[in-house]
């Protein structure tokens, strides 16, 4: 039951883009075409889940054990950067087709604040999924990261679909490009606001 709550909450109620404002730059940057949006979503999903598990373990067994919590920001960003590089190298070796699909998006992900954001959130924030506030365990943190990144993918794919339509419609000069995109996301966020209160 708790896992179900985490999943619904992370995908719909607290959608990472539309409610938490994380990862806006790539969200705006690669949502011009549905195909690139799907590719980026896949890469983000993979990296967020992996990075959260690794940083969670590092935080628990390294930083907390030696009372080095103040190094969290530096440690996490380095781990994420190294991880992305490693994923790139491994993927190139074992699955060239997947590398072809995700390859160009991987370097961009290091500076995607969604990755660092989720990693920091799961180790610092107390959650109240069905009961008293508590820190997430490893299994819950993994599910949270996976669901959050699925929410990212959902928002991105929906928005890319809208944007393909927008590119064919007649938009006033001053609204062209990013302004109309932001207004569209605003209306999407308004729709997602309807989910609040169900968890």
């Amino acid at each position: 039951m708790e896992f179900l709550l985490i999943i619904v909450s992370a995908i719909f109620v607290n959608n990472i883009v539309l409610a938490q404002f994380l990862g806006i730059c790539p969200f705006m940057g690669v949502s011009n075409k549905l195909s690139t949006a799907t590719g980026m979503s896949g890469a983000v999903c993979f990296v967020i889940t992996l990075a959260t598990v690794v940083t969670y373990l590092i935080n628990k067994f390294l930083l907390e054990t030696f009372h080095l919590e103040f190094l969290q920001t530096i440690a996490f960003i380095l781990v994420i950067a190294a991880l992305v590089q490693m994923v790139e190298i491994i993927l190139k070796k074992i699955s060239p087709s997947l590398y072809q699909a995700l390859g160009i998006f991987l370097p961009l992900i290091t500076t995607n604040c969604a990755v660092l954001g989720v990693a920091i959130t799961v180790v610092t924030k107390q959650f109240t999924f069905g009961g008293a506030p508590h820190m997430l365990g490893l299994a819950q943190a993994t599910v949270y990261a996976l669901a959050t990144s699925l929410g990212y993918g959902l928002a991105m794919v929906l928005f890319a679909g809208l944007r393909e339509q927008l590119s064919r419609s007649n938009v006033p000069e001053a609204f062209k490009g990013l302004p109309i995109a932001f207004i569209t996301v605003g209306i999407m966020a308004l729709a997602f606001l309807g989910f609040s209160g169900i968890v």
């Binding site: 730059c25 960003i77 380095l78 500076t111 954001g117 605003g186």
Partner: protein, 193 residues
């Protein structure tokens, strides 16, 4: 570019939000009120100036292959310093801005200025660049914050001029996107003149 130009370019010509479109996450997330926008802007400016200074000093000796990781470590160091200072002296501000203080590390404005300006220019120019872009970012955040606060809670910098509540949606997520979108339209209109 003149020294004066370095300071003022952040407002219009190289405005980080409306022209460069960088650092969108804190821009949208922390502008629920004018005060929050101001605090976030100043926090980013602190990191921007210090990292610009250090990076312009070390850039000539950093090997080209590892320059991005080195810059990120420099930026992360100043962000950690900022976190500790804020926790010690202004804990309630640190509490409000929350996650977005550590996330200054991945704010593209900071790394962008390091890469595009500080690594190629003198210490003094880089300092001015940090102040200029930082000021532009702060002013923009305050403007967005004022608009959202007026519409959302009927107040400016906490001074309430309207009885009752405003349109709550403007304090919440949708309002952030809408206000930024319409301000961009306004900026485009004015800049075209």
């Amino acid at each position: 570019m003149s020294k004066f130009g370095l300071i003022t370019k952040g407002f219009l010509k190289e405005n980080p939000t409306f022209v460069l479109v960088l650092g969108m996450c804190p821009t949208l997330a922390t502008t629920t009120s004018a005060m929050n926008g101001l605090e976030m802007g100043l926090a980013t400016m602190f990191v921007l100036i210090l990292s610009n200074i250090v990076i312009s000093l070390i850039a000539p000796v950093v090997p080209d292959k590892v320059h991005i990781p080195v810059y990120i470590v420099v930026i992360a160091t100043f962000v950690t310093l900022l976190q500790l200072l804020m926790q010690a002296y202004v804990p309630e501000v640190y509490e409000t801005l929350g996650l977005f203080i550590p996330l200054i590390v991945v704010n593209c404005i900071v790394l962008g200025r390091a890469e595009a300006f500080a690594s190629k220019n003198s210490v003094w120019d880089s300092t001015l660049d940090g102040i200029g872009i930082g000021l532009g970012f702060t002013v923009t955040l305050v403007v967005i914050g004022i608009v959202r606060e007026v519409l959302g809670s009927g107040s400016v910098f906490g001074w309430k001029f309207l009885a009752g509540d405003g349109i709550l949606a403007f304090v919440m997520a949708p309002g952030a996107f809408l206000v930024l979108g319409y301000l961009m339209v306004l900026f485009n209109k004015l800049a075209k003149r």
